[in-house]
């Protein structure tokens, strides 16, 4: 069974072929990482799958349903969730309220004018916060949380819609190294426990090789290698194009510490 199927999608911006005929598939419980040097087309691929951009050609199937031209919100209703490189949360709420709002949104009653918004989903919201390890911070305004915690709240918001497919754009960007492993471990646990497929991009190679079930390597818009971490690590093409360049690796490391 496949939760996400991408067939031969391409996208061109002016003279630049940002994504060139990429195909991939993702199964429930699976953690699939997309890596590649800057400008490889990872973000564009994410936006094609997420619905922010229409592809020039190819197709996107989510949970067996044709989704190539669907807007973002409609994809969400097919079971696609998402986290962002810079966390997108509801800053003016407390963590608990934010998750309750996300639950309201996911339950699809946005035009109810007089019902009470907060309360009906309180227990569920607490459970979700507990799942991401944030039950302590339930009453804290999101705007005052530390960034690592904001990322966890964001994950809870995404989970509120009970997604079967979760897109995570650089889930550990901006986090302290110690927090990263914990977050990725949490995500893998959620994927396994909820039967959710996770597609993520990541600059932190330690996280990628420690937690991805499969890895897709993109260079200049095209997939040059795909497979299990050990196979990718051993692939000479990958080594040459990407990992082998010691300078680049060092730069990446410097960047995430910087």
């Amino acid at each position: 069974m496949t939760i996400l199927l991408v067939e031969n999608v391409s996208k061109r911006f002016g003279g630049v072929q940002a994504v060139a005929g990429v195909s991939l598939s993702l199964a429930p419980q699976e953690m699939l990482a997309v890596i590649g040097p800057n400008g490889a087309g990872k973000s564009t691929l994410f936006n094609l799958i997420g619905g922010q951009l229409p592809p020039d050609s190819g197709r996107v199937v989510i949970a067996g349903r044709e989704a190539t031209r669907l807007p973002v919100a409609a994809r969400a209703r097919l079971g696609m969730g998402r986290t962002f490189q810079i966390a997108e949360t509801f800053r003016s709420f407390t963590a608990q309220q934010a998750v309750e709002a996300a639950l309201l949104a996911a339950r699809g009653a946005p035009f109810r004018l007089f019902a009470r918004a907060f309360g009906p989903h309180a227990a569920e919201a607490r459970a979700l916060l507990a799942e991401v390890g944030m039950e302590e911070a339930a009453a804290t305004p999101v705007s005052t949380l530390a960034y690592g915690d904001v990322k966890r709240v964001e994950l809870a918001l995404a989970l509120a819609a009970a997604p079967r497919l979760l897109l995570m754009d650089e889930p550990t960007a901006g986090m302290a190294p110690a927090e990263r492993g914990a977050l990725m471990r949490l995500v893998r646990g959620l994927a396994r426990g909820r039967g959710m497929g996770v597609l993520f991009t990541e600059h932190d190679m330690d996280s990628v090789f420690a937690f991805a079930d499969r890895i897709l390597v993109m260079v200049r818009g095209a997939v040059i290698a795909a497979g299990a971490p050990e196979a990718v690590r051993a692939d000479p093409a990958v080594r040459e194009a990407y990992l082998g360049k010691a300078g680049l690796a060092a730069a990446l490391r410097a960047r995430r510490h910087g």
Partner: protein, 608 residues
């Protein structure tokens, strides 16, 4: 013969375009760097014109030559530049971090102050300027006499564009302006003295406005009412051209100038609407304007009406008690004022709902207040509907209008959205003002009478309270219902809201319609209270008043807009009888409020 006519028409249009470009270029530069939409920019042009009509006659008496004329114009512009620098140093410098809507409001306060200042300095009569020496005649071309000064003005536009381009491309100051327009944080990070840059840019913008005003005096007189028409057109040009883009402003000026020259031949009667229709059309097709860059996400959105404590029962009871007391214990005048305060309270609260909760900055909310009032008045007076039905029709009509406007602009954001709401409000105003057969034009519609059972002021006040207070409470309820909460969530993060499957655009359109309908309810109540309606109800100053109420009361609490409405209306009522200079006092009050309480009075009180 015809060719001569078309040429003359084009020359007129292009001459107007040049003058417009000078003013608009200043506005767009200031916006690009300081991110301030300066309502007082037209006032700067007006001051330029007044200084010019004062300076030029003695200068020309001393030596009547074109170069002296130009010298006089540049001196006038320099005087305005000095005024602009002073304004930046004393006022704007302190409010760069304030939400942009309040900045707009502060500059409108400045407009009021300058209006009265000019009146005091130069008197109420229009002052025509001298003609430019050597350019006062007509030049015969193709059988038409074309004013030589128009030809001169046509040349001025491109020359100033070239000089500005040179300044922007070849000087350090210009490069900084360009860099700041593109990326303010970067310029700040580079260690540039931002304060100096902002003052310099603002002075340059004021200089251009002053020059535009000064060079106009051979064509149009200096008059105390010229500021608002100038700023309205400069806004249109700036927005159509793309905010921050000088070449865009030039292109848009030429477009608008020619449109006016030739548009009046085909449509002599829809003069006011034409430019705003073009603006709306351009923005809907190309939201960032002809040569503008897509707007970066709006900074400093006004957050408020957030986690609200419910109004404690005493407060609610207090409101009811106050209204009962006024209804039964006071005089008819107070009853009328109290009714109007209720009207303004629901209008301001619905605007606060849009701005603070939905993140939709509307600068034309009075359009819906007016639409509700007109619908009720027309149906009551012209169609003979009973009051009850007309009162119900007001919010329905205003809500429908808001639904249409909302559908056209819900995909936009930030300052362009605000400008487009302004354009729509101006179109609505122009329809009411110029469609005399239907609306009575500026005379409006009189003789709007309540039903017999509500005809005395006390009963009508109670009726108004019975309509408005539940509406306020209902909207308050909406704030903590899924619709209100999710609107706020979408305001906090649109990407998150979309990723959760929320129909964000549809929700914003619905919010617009709801707010419009409530303002329309206020308008309908107002129509029967005043007994007449007229276009000032939906004009810019009315929208500004509503914003001032938000400013005064703050948007952090439900009570804010309501208190603001009561306070501003009360203030106006108290100050107006005391002095002819009430505009000056109102303007100063707005400035002081923005400076002292950027979060509004209620916000200040809550923090204390």
């Amino acid at each position: 013969m015809e060719w001569g006519f078309w040429l003359a028409q084009a020359v007129s249009g292009l001459a107007g375009a040049s003058a417009l470009f000078l003013t608009a270029a200043g506005l767009t530069l200031v916006f690009g760097v300081c991110r301030i939409v300066n309502f007082a920019h037209g006032s700067f042009a007006m001051v330029g014109a007044y200084v010019a009509v004062t300076l030029l006659p003695p200068l020309l008496a001393w030596s009547p030559s074109l170069s002296v004329f130009l010298l006089g114009a540049v001196l006038s512009a320099l005087a305005v530049a000095a005024l602009g620098a002073a304004v930046e140093l004393l006022l704007l410098r302190r409010i760069y971090r304030v939400p942009e809507l309040f900045q707009l409001l502060a500059t409108f306060g400045l407009v009021l102050v300058i209006q009265d200042g000019v009146l005091q300095l130069w008197g109420p009569e229009d002052i025509p300027g001298p003609r430019a020496p050597g350019l006062g005649h007509g030049v015969a071309i193709l059988g038409e006499r074309i004013p030589a000064y128009d030809l001169f003005l046509i040349a001025v536009g491109p020359v100033v564009l070239a000089l500005l381009t040179l300044l922007l491309r070849a000087t350090r100051f210009g490069l900084l302006i360009q860099a700041a327009t593109r990326d303010r944080e970067m310029v700040a990070a580079l260690g540039v003295n931002q304060a100096l840059l902002f003052t310099g840019v603002f002075a340059l913008g004021a200089f251009l406005a002053g020059l535009g005003g000064a060079l106009q005096v051979p064509r149009i007189p200096a008059s105390g009412g010229m500021d608002l028409p100038i700023i309205a057109e400069a806004f249109v040009v700036t927005v159509v051209g793309g905010m921050g883009s000088v070449p865009g402003a030039f292109l848009a000026s030429v477009l608008i100038g020619l449109l006016q020259a030739f548009g009046i031949l085909a449509f002599p009667k829809i003069t006011l609407v034409l430019v705003f229709l073009v603006m709306a059309a351009v923005l809907m097709l190309r939201p960032q304007g002809l040569l503008g860059r897509p707007e970066p996400p709006a900074r400093g959105a006004i957050e408020g009406l957030a986690a609200l404590p419910p109004p404690s029962p005493p407060l609610r009871a207090l409101a009811v008690a106050a209204i009962l007391a006024v209804a039964f214990l006071s005089d008819d005048y107070l009853r009328k004022v109290a009714t109007e305060m209720l009207v303004l309270a629901i209008a301001a609260f619905s605007l606060g709902f849009l701005i603070a909760n939905a993140g939709i900055v509307s600068f034309g909310h009075a359009a819906f207040l007016g639409a509700g009032a007109y619908a009720a008045a027309l149906l009551s007076v012209r169609a003979g509907w009973p009051m009850e039905a007309a009162l119900a029709a007001g919010p329905l009509f205003a809500g429908t209008l808001a639904l249409l406007f909302g559908a056209a602009l819900a995909r936009m954001g930030g300052i362009y959205l605000a400008m487009l709401t302004l354009a729509f409000a101006q179109i609505t105003h122009a329809v009411a003002f110029q469609w005399v057969e239907l609306t009575g034009g500026d005379n409006g519609i009189v003789g709007v009478r309540p039903a017999w059972w509500a005809s005395d002021r006390a009963s009508y006040l109670l009726l108004a309270a019975a309509l408005v207070l539940p509406a306020i409470w209902a909207l308050r309820r909406v704030l903590s219902a899924p619709f209100g909460v999710l609107l706020r969530a979408a305001r906090d993060s649109e990407p998150r809201a979309l990723a959760l499957g929320l129909p964000v655009v549809a929700m914003r359109v619905a919010a617009f319609a709801l707010a419009g309908a409530l303002a329309g309810l206020g308008g309908a109540v107002f129509a029967f209270s005043r007994g007449s309606v007229d276009p000032t109800l939906l004009a810019i100053p009315q929208s500004v008043d509503l914003l001032a109420m938000l400013l005064l009361g703050g948007v952090q609490a439900v009570a804010g807009p309501l208190l603001g409405a009561v306070a501003l209306h009360g203030l106006k009522d108290a100050v107006m009888p005391l002095t002819d200079l009430w505009r000056l006092f109102l303007g100063l009050a707005i400035l002081l409020l923005v400076l002292a309480f950027p979060r509004g009075l209620a916000g200040a009180w809550r923090r204390a």
